[in-house]
């Protein structure tokens, strides 16, 4: 186990999931793998947070689930972005960018 993992700030997991799903429908395990891969192993999503988050997003209607076949040919629940989810992603992305820019600016100037 490497120690360069980071805990995700509150609320960012939803954003990452939505972003990941923007590339196409995925099942739970693939979502966590993708996030880990793209972040260069820095971000690891625990199942304990992933699945409750998926269920929460599904309830809000931002993503929807459909059963399909996984790569090892088992039944898997594939999540995909809904239209509302798409809009929400854009909003959240904007918020995130503004936030990080602001934080970065503060850090640089002081």
């Amino acid at each position: 186990m490497t120690d360069n993992r980071l805990d995700l700030p509150q609320g960012t997991l939803d954003l990452l999931i939505l972003k990941t799903l923007a590339l196409g429908p995925q099942h739970g395990w693939a979502i966590s793998e993708r996030i880990q891969q793209i972040s260069g192993d820095v971000l690891r999503v625990q199942q304990g947070s992933l699945y409750p988050a998926l269920h929460r997003l599904e309830r809000r209607g931002w993503i929807r689930a459909e059963w399909g076949a996984s790569e090892n040919n088992r039944r898997a629940k594939f999540y995909e972005l809904t239209r509302i989810g798409q809009e929400q992603l854009e909003v959240e992305e904007g918020v995130w960018r503004k936030l990080t820019a602001a934080v970065a600016q503060v850090l640089e100037t002081t």
Partner: protein, 875 residues
């Protein structure tokens, strides 16, 4: 929004499908993770182990997913109710005891509180009842009595503060004919203005007017609602039809409203006008008077005006009204005065029962908490939040409360029905008592909140604790148990104390009743049968015909096999009735006030003393030669002899009284007997031969050779043979008559005894519960003792002592409380002291025996403990 609803509904309606899907999703994730590790070069086992570590608790993830789905509230509720019902079904003893305890606590409270409400708090449901007052005459000697008829007429005429004044129905029984078999029905004589005083209107028709009170006016009657329904089918054309009473037709002019009820009047089927007649004088204080104050007039003003009137009457009629004042009381206080003490006693008892029920429910929940600590800890470790566990417990308590409340409502209805039928005569509860929803809710809330409060204990214990040690099963037993057990021990000791107070109360009343019933009455009540007859007055209009009827009856009775003696008397001992007046001895001055020489007047035929077992101390009984032609004579009792002839022989002396003013020679002295109730001392009495005074309403007393009940059939036959139109009234043994004279205290005694038995049961259950619990907790310790050689007997003793200690603490707390409360009961005790030693010793003995009895089962379990148990960890 819509997707949200669909999502929740699906999860709610198809929980199994949703759960299975979640399972499958998580399993896939796990397997893919394992595959990944295998691909990276780990062995299958290593990959598996690694995946588990990363994955964390599967059940926690699931629980969080359920939370995230956000359908908790509804889903949890349905699930918790289902689970709660299952848990309650799994512990039927707990459920049954808790539900029953609540049911009795709630039921008894609702019924008794409703009675208290009807009698003390809100007895008089008439419009503006605060304006209704009760008026009575009061003698300077302190006795309150009803009013004389002429006095009443003067009051009504002279007073100005009242809107209306009326005499309460003067009840009596009448023979009703013309409606099938002749029947005896109860009716009331009344003055006009009665309904105006109460502020109500007849339902149908009208009421008497002032003119119709006068002698010579046509005979009219107003029916009660019940009589209208039963005898005339509620027909509206009943007005103008006749009601034949004692062979005289009365014209029906109205019907009273439904639910009309006054103390002592609710059995009346009709009301008719009370007319002035020769016996309506100022001597007889027999009527109850009610009046309605004018709006704005105060009770004080009415009192001062009536006092002025009383002074005036004293001056005008000194021989009858001297010393008599008038007392004006608001009707509420007047009713409460009569019924206060018994109702207050029942009221206190029922509050104790409620406390006990609450303590018991609390104890039950605490016991359950300890046995469920492990379950709670396991649920917590599987991811249940504290809130969730609390919610679960809450629902279980509410389920128990709901069951208890429903059953309690049924019980309350039943108790009130029995109160109503048992206390109808004495307490006038019939139409007044309603199940009060506010009271039901009040008791429900009190007992339910106790349940909830203590029902939460398992949740708090379970979720607060160090999960590890609870699951392992030692810390919970050794470190926390004492504090927890102490609370329960206090509760149980408290229950014992409450039970002691109730048992002492019931014990005092029961003992008093038996003592009073066994008191010497001066009568030999065994083998005596009594009854009364009601020959219709129209058919037996002349005194001669009536006398002939009774003489014929006595003659036939005397020749009936098994009959020893039969005689008539006008006032049956122990029936509460009394006629009395002044008494003057020849050659001595008349007393300044006739009340100073008050004696009871009786009339009897020869053989009455023999039938009742009253000894003739001097002189003789009446015989058949005493009649209207011979000299007027009388017999006195020895109380009178001692009071008026302390050092002389009364035989041959003459006296006269207010009855007919004739001088009568005393021919005999008989033993005194108690004429009202067994605990009231005998009063001076004179007996006149009925042959010289004429007959009125008579009781027949029959002394038999064997069982008096066996004679009932032949008596009915004899009466029917003489005249089938004469109804027989109140055929009872004399023993029954004595017992009936105490019916009100007997009713209270029965209720209190019932409550006390319930209290004893609850306390025993409480003791059993705590002892069984401590045995379970100490099983390992007991095992060690057994292993070290403790004998069966010593282990048994150890546990029994535990139970006995609890009851001793309870007794120590309860005895002072019982002593304090016995003062309240003291006022209704006649035969024993409120500190009766047998009761105060007997009750603690009973409680200790009950404690030992209920500790016996757990004690036996403890004594039989297997020493090997000490070596095992798991219990």
């Amino acid at each position: 929004m819509f997707s949200d609803l669909l999502f929740r509904l699906r999860a709610l309606l198809r929980p199994k499908v949703v759960e299975a899907e979640l399972d499958e999703e998580l399993r896939l994730h796990f397997d893919l993770q394992v595959d990944k590790y295998v691909k990276s070069g780990l062995t299958r086992e290593e990959a598996y182990r690694r995946a588990r570590l990363v994955f964390g608790g599967l059940d926690q993830v699931k629980e969080q997913c359920r939370d995230a789905r956000g359908l908790n509230l509804l889903e949890f509720l349905v699930q918790d109710v289902r689970y709660g019902l299952r848990m309650l079904r799994k512990s039927p003893v707990f459920t049954a005891v808790a539900v029953l305890t609540l049911a009795i606590g709630i039921g008894a409270n609702t019924a008794i509180f409703s009675a208290v409400n009807a009698l003390l708090l809100n007895p008089f449901r008439f419009p503006e009842s605060h304006r209704i007052v009760y008026i009575e005459e009061r003698h300077i000697s302190g006795r309150n009595q009803g009013a004389g008829y002429r006095d009443f007429l003067d009051w009504r005429q002279q007073s100005t503060v009242f809107e209306e004044m009326a005499i309460l129905p003067w009840t009596g029984s009448y023979t009703l004919t013309g409606q099938g078999e002749p029947q005896r029905i109860v009716g009331g004589r009344i003055t006009c203005g009665f309904l105006q005083v109460l502020g109500i209107q007849p339902l149908v028709g009208r009421f008497f007017t002032a003119d119709e009170d006068k002698p010579g006016a046509p005979l009219l009657t107003v029916l009660s609602y019940a009589a209208w329904q039963r005898r005339f089918g509620g027909s509206p054309d009943v007005l103008g039809r006749p009601l034949v009473l004692n062979s005289v037709p009365y014209t029906i002019i109205g019907v009273l409203p439904r639910g009309f009820a006054l103390p002592g009047v609710q059995t009346c089927e009709f009301l008719a006008a009370l007319r002035e007649n020769p016996s309506n004088d100022r001597f007889q204080h027999q009527y109850n008077v009610l009046a309605r104050l004018k709006p704005g007039a105060s009770v004080e003003r009415a009192q001062s005006e009536m006092t002025t009137i009383a002074r005036r009457l004293e001056q005008e009629y000194p021989e009858t009204n001297k010393g008599w004042g008038i007392l004006v009381t608001p009707i509420r206080s007047a009713i409460a005065r009569e019924t206060k003490t018994p109702v207050l006693i029942l009221f206190s008892a029922v509050i104790l029962v409620l406390l006990l029920a609450c303590a018991n429910v609390a104890g039950l929940h605490l016991a359950r908490a300890s046995s469920r600590a492990k379950e709670m800890a396991i649920r917590a470790s599987l991811g249940a939040s504290r809130g969730r566990i609390v919610c679960q417990m809450l629902i279980e308590s509410l389920l128990v409360a709901f069951g208890g409340g429903t059953l309690g409502l049924i019980l309350a209805q039943w108790l009130m029905a029995s109160l109503r039928s048992a206390a109808q005569e004495e307490l006038a509860l019939d139409a007044m008592m309603r199940l009060d929803p506010a009271i039901f809710l009040f008791t429900l809330v009190i007992s339910v909140s106790t349940g909830i409060l203590f029902g939460l204990a398992p949740a708090l214990y379970g979720s607060r604790s160090d999960l590890n040690s609870v699951i392992k099963g030692d810390a919970g037993l050794w470190s926390r148990a004492p504090a927890h057990g102490r609370l329960r021990s206090c509760l149980v000791a408290g229950e014992v104390a409450l039970a002691l107070v109730l048992l002492v109360g019931a014990g005092l009343l029961v003992k008093d009743l038996t003592v009073v019933l066994s008191l010497q009455t001066g009568l030999r009540t065994e083998q005596v049968l009594t009854f009364a007859l009601a020959p219709p007055s129209a058919k037996y209009s002349s005194p001669q015909r009536q006398a002939a009827f009774y003489l014929d009856l006595l003659e036939r009775l005397r020749f009936t096999p098994g009959v020893d003696t039969a005689a008539l008397v006008d006032t049956l001992p122990m029936t509460g009735g009394m006629t009395g007046g002044g008494f003057q001895i020849e050659g001595r001055p008349q007393a300044a006030d006739w009340v100073d020489t008050l004696v009871q007047y009786n009339g009897s035929t020869p053989g009455f003393f023999r039938a009742m077992g009253i000894p003739i101390l001097r002189g003789r009984d009446f015989d058949d030669r005493d009649g209207t032609a011979s000299l007027p004579i009388a017999i006195i009792n020895d109380t009178l002899a001692r009071q008026f002839f302390p050092n002389e022989d009364p035989i041959g002396r003459r006296y006269r009284d207010d009855y007919d003013g004739k001088w009568r020679s005393i021919v005999g002295v008989v033993g005194s007997y108690k004429s009202q109730q067994p605990m009231k001392p005998p009063i001076p009495a004179v007996f006149r031969p009925l042959a010289q005074t004429g007959l009125g309403f008579e009781w027949i007393t029959v002394r038999t050779g064997g069982h008096p009940e066996r004679l009932a059939g032949s008596i009915r036959g004899i009466v029917r043979a003489i005249d089938p139109d004469v109804p027989i009234l109140q055929l009872r043994t004399m023993r029954q008559v004595v017992s009936d004279s105490l019916s009100q205290s007997r009713l209270m005694t029965q209720y209190l005894a019932g409550f006390a038995a319930f209290a004893l049961l609850l306390a025993s259950i409480g003791i059993y519960g705590i002892v069984a619990y401590s045995v379970r907790q100490r099983l390992r310790e007991l095992g060690i003792r057994a292993a070290l050689g403790a004998s069966y007997g010593s282990l048994l003793g150890l546990v029994l002592r535990n139970g006995a200690q609890l009851s001793v603490v309870g007794i120590a707390v309860g005895t002072p409380a019982a002593l304090a409360i016995s003062g309240l009961i003291g006022s209704v005790l006649y035969g024993i002291s409120p500190r009766d030693i047998t009761v105060f010793v007997g009750v603690p003995v009973i409680l200790i025996l009950a404690a030992l009895g209920s500790s016996y089962l757990p004690a036996r379990q403890a004594a039989k403990v297997d020493p090997m148990i000490a070596l095992r960890c798991e219990l």
